[in-house]
């Protein structure tokens, strides 16, 4: 079963080939659709059997294929053609764009977690005899001293290494003149280690080495969970970024086609855009007639006709004919980039959001630290020695450690996002969930969000449909395809000739027929409001087929659910007034605006924010990205443009809109779980503070109290598993 190799269609990807020092070269490809073990062996064996390929390995988790070539001029085209034949479309992937640094951070946290786990376990082992000694068992002072020193040897290096992420973050925060959660953690750990050393030197019994490391261990679990949540979303976003700007087909002086990374396309180069491809840069059409779908740029549903001499903007989709365009702007200067800058500005305002845990810390830090200071000075005033006073103050810091704070929120958020993930919603960060829970106003884009975003046939008699179907099946035009989908499988027309931007002509059972725009079947000056297609046998009556973009089946239900949750709903669309008004009326939405430009949409969001509303924006188009970035929280459907998915906090897949209402429900449940956890911590601390102040805390009680509170908080977070289940 040899694979035949079609040279004519294979693009040249040599620009993405990376050369290695030893004379070999490698290529990274993002492979779509590889999801199972069978795919993996099929892909790897097919690619590895190509000449010149020395290694092919697929990362099934991330869907990336690494190919190594024996020579520096590897035949990249052949690899892509082979994958294409197997049914897995591949895109070149620039690993520089993947967050390499981020991966380092993740590895460092895991290692710190492992070190802290090792330290906590082993220090605890030496603590057990000391704890036993607290109950009057026989433990001579010499043995206790040995145990404490062993404990110190294990715990101190571990605590310093595992504590580094916290120390660094605390230092950064202090330099910025603020105190985040990591400040009390760092102060607590450093003071604890210090006082424990003093105690060990003085042959005392209150050394808290084990407590310091296990505190870090528990906190690192929370830190790592939070990081993982963001890392998963970020790698999804990095994949999208890599996909978003893959390449343009540039026609060289020699007439050869060459695939270039988008950033390398220069002004004045000639670019080939095939039907179904996106216009890569702003350009001037030199050759070809086609229709452009600007839906993602402007929200308009009707395609725009273009011919030589017209200009086209980056981001539009070429629908019917092949176009040759002359680049008039570089990728960074194209229309898309202007929107990208708006998005960046929005993302900056979002990063100013103060997270729940940091809000809690801003109350917690001053209170706990003043109580600790009070304990120390109060102890001195009431005649305790400086050593005993300091011990009580430190015991207070340890026992009120913000473990619950550090673990409470990430544990809730990771369970909440796991729930949403199973429902097909990708949550990009914990902060996104917190913002989503605060939302009180929802703004929807119409095309592709409330509606399905693709034309569907309306009001056509069955016999007319049967007449036109054979021609429709032979055409690649989106409207014809919608018609063919409605008609189901059946015979195809023969001798088919497709005229780009006009329609399709062919023989149906020996009779010549045409399907296309009104003028194509000989009607002049007819143009309805809806998108339409006309069918005619030669010299006979013309039959119109009208298409409209249908509302998603559960749109009305979702809007009602949102309104029941107490949220107000609004539509902001770039489409014409008619379709927007109709959609709003069907869905019982009172507030709607049509004809909005990307800037208008962003301005509306800004105005609502200025009124103190917390807005959730749900949008899919490039024209929504600025609004998505500026809104308090943002969601995009999985079918949305990559840029929109990047700007959104949550991405939902699947046909339904119900994910919007579900997500808000889960986010609110997560928020109340997190608040419960804070409440629990507050009550617990209120009980613990007097104990520590009056000197009832010893190392055993500190260790029990700490792990006990963390356990309660985690169990409460796990209740999220059932939240929002219907």
């Amino acid at each position: 079963m040899a694979l035949t190799y079609d040279l004519a269609r294979a693009p040249d990807l040599s620009a993405f080939l990376r050369k290695d020092k030893d004379g070999s070269a490698h290529l990274e490809l993002l492979v779509k659709g590889a999801r199972c073990a069978a795919c993996m062996s099929k892909i790897e064996s097919a690619v590895a059997s190509l000449p010149d390929v020395s290694m092919a390995r697929l990362n099934l988790t991330e869907g990336r294929l690494a190919v190594r070539f024996a020579s520096p001029r590897g035949d990249t085209a052949r690899v892509v053609a082979t994958l294409d034949k197997l049914g897995y479309p591949a895109t070149p992937f620039d690993p520089a764009k993947a967050a390499e640094a981020h991966d380092q951070e993740s590895r460092r946290l895991i290692l710190a977690l492992a070190v802290a786990g090792f330290g906590a376990g082993n220090a605890m082992m030496f603590s057990v005899p000391v704890w036993a000694g607290l109950f009057g068992q026989e433990l001579g002072p010499a043995t206790r001293s040995i145990m404490l020193w062993l404990s110190a040897i294990v715990a101190t290096p571990c605590a310093i290494y595992a504590g580094l992420p916290f120390f660094e973050s605390a230092w950064r925060s202090l330099k910025a003149g603020k105190a985040n959660m990591d400040v009390p953690i760092s102060v607590g750990v450093i003071l604890t280690l210090f006082i424990s050393f003093v105690e060990t030197f003085l042959n005392g019994r209150d050394a808290y080495f084990d407590a310091a490391v296990s505190l870090l261990f528990l906190l690192l679990i929370g830190r790592w969970l939070d990081h993982r949540l963001r890392a998963r979303a970020r790698s999804a976003a990095a994949d999208l970024l890599a996909l978003q700007a893959p390449a343009a087909t540039v026609l060289g002086q020699d007439g050869l086609e060459r695939i270039k990374p988008l950033s390398d396309v220069a002004v004045g180069e000639r670019i080939l855009v095939r039907p179904g491809e996106r216009i890569p840069v702003d350009g001037f059409i030199e050759d070809g007639v086609s229709e452009l779908d600007n839906a993602l740029l402007t929200g308009e549903t009707a395609p725009v006709d273009v011919r030589p001499g017209d200009t086209c903007r980056a981001g539009a989709v070429n629908l019917t004919g092949q176009l040759r365009i002359l680049a008039i702007a570089r990728s960074e200067d194209s229309a898309v980039a202007a929107i990208a800058r708006l998005v960046e500005a929005g993302a900056q305002t979002k990063s100013l959001y103060v997270r729940l845990a940091d809000k809690a810390a801003s109350v917690y830090v001053p209170v706990i630290h003043s109580v600790a200071a009070l304990t120390f000075f109060g102890g001195l005033a009431f005649g305790l020695g400086p050593r005993e006073a300091l011990l009580r103050a430190v015991a207070l810091l340890i026992i009120t450690c913000p473990c619950a704070l550090g673990l409470a929120v990430p544990a809730v958020q990771i369970t909440a996002s796991a729930r949403l993930f199973r429902k097909g919603v990708l949550v990009k960060s914990g902060a996104a969930l917190e913002r989503l829970a605060e939302v009180d106003h929802v703004v929807f884009d119409k095309t592709g969000v409330l509606t399905e975003g693709r034309p569907r046939l309306i009001e056509a008699p069955a016999e007319a449909l049967a007449l036109a179907a054979p021609l429709a099946r032979a055409s690649a035009h989106p409207l014809a395809r919608a018609l063919a989908a409605e008609a189901g499988p059946g015979p195809r027309a023969t001798d088919v000739v497709e005229t780009p931007g006009q329609g399709v002509e062919g023989l149906i059972a020996g009779r010549r027929a045409r399907l296309g725009r009104a003028s194509f079947v000989g009607l002049e000056g007819v143009r309805g409001g809806e998108t339409e297609l006309w069918f005619a046998y030669e010299g006979e009556t013309r039959i119109p087929f009208r298409f409209s973009d249908q509302l998603r089946p559960d749109a009305a239900q979702t809007i009602a659910a949102l309104q029941a949750l107490g949220l107000s709903v609004e539509i902001l669309s770039g489409d014409l007034e008619g379709p927007v008004a109709r959609a709003a009326q069907t869905l019982h939405i009172d507030h709607w605006r049509s004809g909005q430009t990307p800037q208008d949409k962003a301005a509306v969001i800004d105005a609502l924010t200025a009124q103190g509303r917390k807005v959730l924006m749900v949008g899919d188009g490039l024209n929504d990205t600025a609004a998505l970035a500026k809104a308090h929280a943002a969601m995009a459907p999985g079918a949305a443009l990559d840029a929109s998915q990047n700007a959104a906090d949550l991405v939902f897949s699947g046909e339904g809109l119900e994910a919007v209402a579900d997500s808000i429900g889960v986010a609110r449940a997560a928020r109340s779980r997190a608040l419960e956890n804070f409440g629990f911590s507050a009550v617990y601390n209120l009980g613990a503070i007097p104990l520590a102040m009056f000197g009832f805390v010893n190392p055993l009680i500190a260790a029990l109290a700490m792990s006990g509170s963390s356990l309660v908080v985690t169990l409460n977070a796990l209740r999220m598993h059932g939240a929002g289940r219907r």
Binding site: A37, S45, A48, S49, L60, A114, N122, T143
Partner: protein, 51 residues
């Protein structure tokens, strides 16, 4: 007393060995592709020769 001085270093050495082993699995990329590794274990080596 003497036994503690023998057993304590041994226990620490065992713990360190575990930590080192974990570090090695992390460095050699054993957590990079869990889905792929789960599938790879089921593949026969002979599959690679059929192409």
């Amino acid at each position: 007393m003497g036994i503690i001085l023998i057993l304590a270093p041994i226990s620490m050495a065992l713990g360190l060995a575990g930590l080192g082993a974990f570090w090695w699995t992390l460095r050699s990329g054993q957590y990079d592709d869990p889905a792929g590794d789960a599938a790879r274990i089921l593949m026969d080596d002979s599959d690679n020769r059929i192409g």
